[in-house]
Symmetry: C2
Subunit: 312 residues, 2 copies
C-alpha cells in the first residue's frame, strides 16, 4: 500500500529505544541505549537513524518520553522535558535537538500518551473512540483517548497522583510519593509495594495480602476514572499489572464500588472485557513512539476514523 | 449583526425554565414552570415557544436537563433522560418530543454541560480552551471543556461521585449518596451538609467548622480534577459555593495538596484567579440551554475559536 518509513524513540529513565517501522506496522530495526546525560543519549539516538539512512527516508519521527513533558504546540516550552527528578534532564529541549539534527516532522508526547495511541492502533483500544490506558509500574500514568483523540489539558494528565481513600487502620503505610505522600502513586506503585512489604513486588506470591490491598487502591482509581470519562474500556499495563491475579480482584471491587451507578452495559454485564490487560505488554513504549509518528500522517488518521465507524 | 433567535429549556428537578434569546445574548422573554409529569411539563414548554411565534422563527433549541441524560448522537437512547430517581421521568425521550412538536434543530445535554458552555461564551471560561466547571449544590456535577469542546465519554462526566479520602476520626458522617455512601457527593453536597450538621447549609455561619471540612473535600476533588485535566481554570458555582468564605480555604488547601507538582504558573502564582466563583450565579441553567442552542450554529463556533486565538 505504501513503503513509507517511520522512526520512533522511546525515552525512558534507564534506557532509550530507537526503532524504524513500515506503515503496515512491521518493525525493520530496533536498538536500545542506556540513558546517560541528555547530550550523549540524544546524539546516540540521532546516530542510530543516520546510520540506517540506507533503509530509506523517514516520513516522521515520534518521541514518547518520560516526563513531565510539554506536548502543547502553543507553549514556549513545547518539546521540552520539564522539571524532572532525573538528574541533568530538566528543561531538555528534545524536539529542537532532533529537528536540528534530523530535519524531520516530529510528534512529541509522554510515554504513556504514546502507549495509549499504540493501544488504539494495535492493541485493546482498536475501534474504540473513548478509552483510558493506565500503566502501573515505577510510576502510575494514564493516557486518555476521547472522541478518537488524545486528551491534553494545559499539560498532560497526571492521574497517577490523584487522592484516594486510605484507611490507616488497615494500611498504616504512609505513602511514598515525594510530593503527596499517600496519593495513589504513593500507595500503589511498584516502589510503594516494595517499601510496604520489604521485598520487591515480583517476590510477593499471588496469595499474598499485598494484592487485595493493591486491588483496593486500583479499584478506587478506576472508580474515579470511570466517573470522570465514562470510557468504553480501560486498558492496564506496566510491571505491577503483569501480576494478573489482580484483575479478578479489581473487577469484583470496582463493580461493588460503582454499584450500578454508571449506566454502561459493559460494566454491568462484562466487566472482565471492560477492564483488560494490555496485549502489548513490554512493547508499549517503542510502539507508542511509532504510533506518535504515524499520528502525523493524515491518511493513517482517516483510516482509524473509518475503522471506528465501521465498528459502531 | 444578525437577528437570529434561539430557544432554551433548562430542565430541572423542581422547575423548567424556557427562554428566547437573540444571537447577541439578549434574552427577550423567559418563563418558569413547576416540574410535574413529563407529558404536562414538556407540553407546557412547547406551548411557551408556540405562544411566542410572533417574535420570529427560532434557529435552534437547546435543552440542558437534569440527568442522567444521553447526549450521544450515536446512541439508541440519544435525547433521553436515563434511569433517574425523579419519579416518572426515567426513559423520557425529551428530544423526540420537541422535534415532533416544534420541528427545530435541537442540542441536548446535561444541565452542567450546558452551564460549562455558558461559562465559555459569557462567563469565566471566555477565551480559554481548557477549563472545568463544577456545580456544588443538591448534587455535585462537572462539565469539562477541552480544546474548546465539551468532553463526553460514552456518557456524560459524573465526577461528583469520585472517591476521596475520608477520615472517620475527624468526620464520622457516613455519607449520604444512595449509591456510594461516602463518595464526594455523599460527603460534600448540600444534603450532606444538612444531614451532618442537622441544619440547612444557609443557616451555618461563615465561621462554623462545617466550612473548613467542606473545603477539605472540595480541595481533594480539585486536586484530582487538576491532576486529570490540567485545566487553565476551574469555575465553581451552585448553592454551596455561594458561601464565598469557602474560596480562600479551598485555595490554601489545594495549593498545599498539589505541593507544586503540577507545573502551571497559574496554580503556583495566582491560585485565586485559577479556582474562581462563577460570574453567572443563578443564571447558569437557562444560559446553559441557550449556549447549547448557539453551539449548533457554525458561525458562533468560529467566533469563539477566533476569540481563543486572539486571547493566546
Amino acid at each position: 500500500m505504501t513503503d513509507q518509513l517511520y522512526g520512533g524513540i522511546e525515552g525512558g529513565g534507564t534506557k532509550f529505544v530507537c526503532a524504524i517501522m513500515e506503515a503496515n506496522g512491521q518493525i525493520l530495526t530496533e536498538s536500545r541505549f542506556d540513558t546517560t546525560n541528555p547530550q550523549t543519549t540524544l546524539s546516540t539516538c540521532a546516530e542510530f537513524f543516520e546510520s540506517h539512512a540506507h533503509l530509506g527516508t523517514l516520513s516522521a519521527l515520534g518521541i514518547a518520553s518520560f516526563g513531565p513533558v510539554d506536548p502543547n504546540l502553543n507553549s514556549p516550552t513545547y518539546g521540552h522535558i520539564l522539571n524532572t527528578p532525573k538528574p541533568g534532564w530538566s528543561h531538555t529541549d528534545v524536539v529542537a535537538f532532533f529537528r536540528r539534527r534530523l530535519g524531520l516532522p516530529i510528534a512529541f508526547d509522554s510515554d504513556v500518551n504514546g502507549a495509549a495511541l499504540a493501544e488504539q492502533i494495535w492493541g485493546a483500544g482498536k475501534g474504540l473512540a473513548n478509552f483510558v490506558y493506565y500503566t502501573i509500574g515505577t510510576g502510575i500514568g494514564a493516557g486518555v483517548i476521547l472522541d478518537g483523540r488524545l486528551v491534553h489539558g494545559a499539560l498532560t494528565p497526571e492521574m497517577g497522583h490523584m487522592r484516594v481513600p486510605h484507611d490507616r487502620a488497615i494500611d498504616p503505610f504512609e505513602g511514598s510519593c515525594p510530593f503527596h505522600g499517600d496519593c495513589l502513586e504513593g500507595l500503589a506503585n511498584g516502589p510503594a509495594l516494595e517499601k510496604r512489604w520489604k521485598t520487591s513486588a515480583e517476590n510477593l506470591p499471588p496469595d499474598h495480602p499485598a494484592w487485595p490491598l493493591e486491588a483496593d487502591y486500583l479499584a478506587a482509581m478506576l472508580h474515579n476514572t470511570i466517573c470522570t470519562f465514562t470510557p468504553e474500556r480501560v486498558i492496564m499495563g506496566g510491571g505491577v499489572m503483569s501480576q494478573t491475579q489482580l484483575f479478578p480482584m479489581i473487577h469484583q471491587r470496582l463493580k461493588r464500588s460503582l454499584n450500578n451507578y454508571i449506566q454502561l452495559p459493559a460494566i454491568e454485564d462484562r466487566i472482565e472485557d471492560y477492564v483488560v490487560h494490555t496485549p502489548l505488554e513490554g512493547k508499549a513504549g517503542v510502539l507508542g513512539a511509532l504510533a506518535l509518528a504515524l499520528s502525523l500522517d493524515p491518511q493513517q488518521n482517516q483510516r482509524r476514523h473509518n475503522e471506528r465507524h465501521f465498528a459502531e
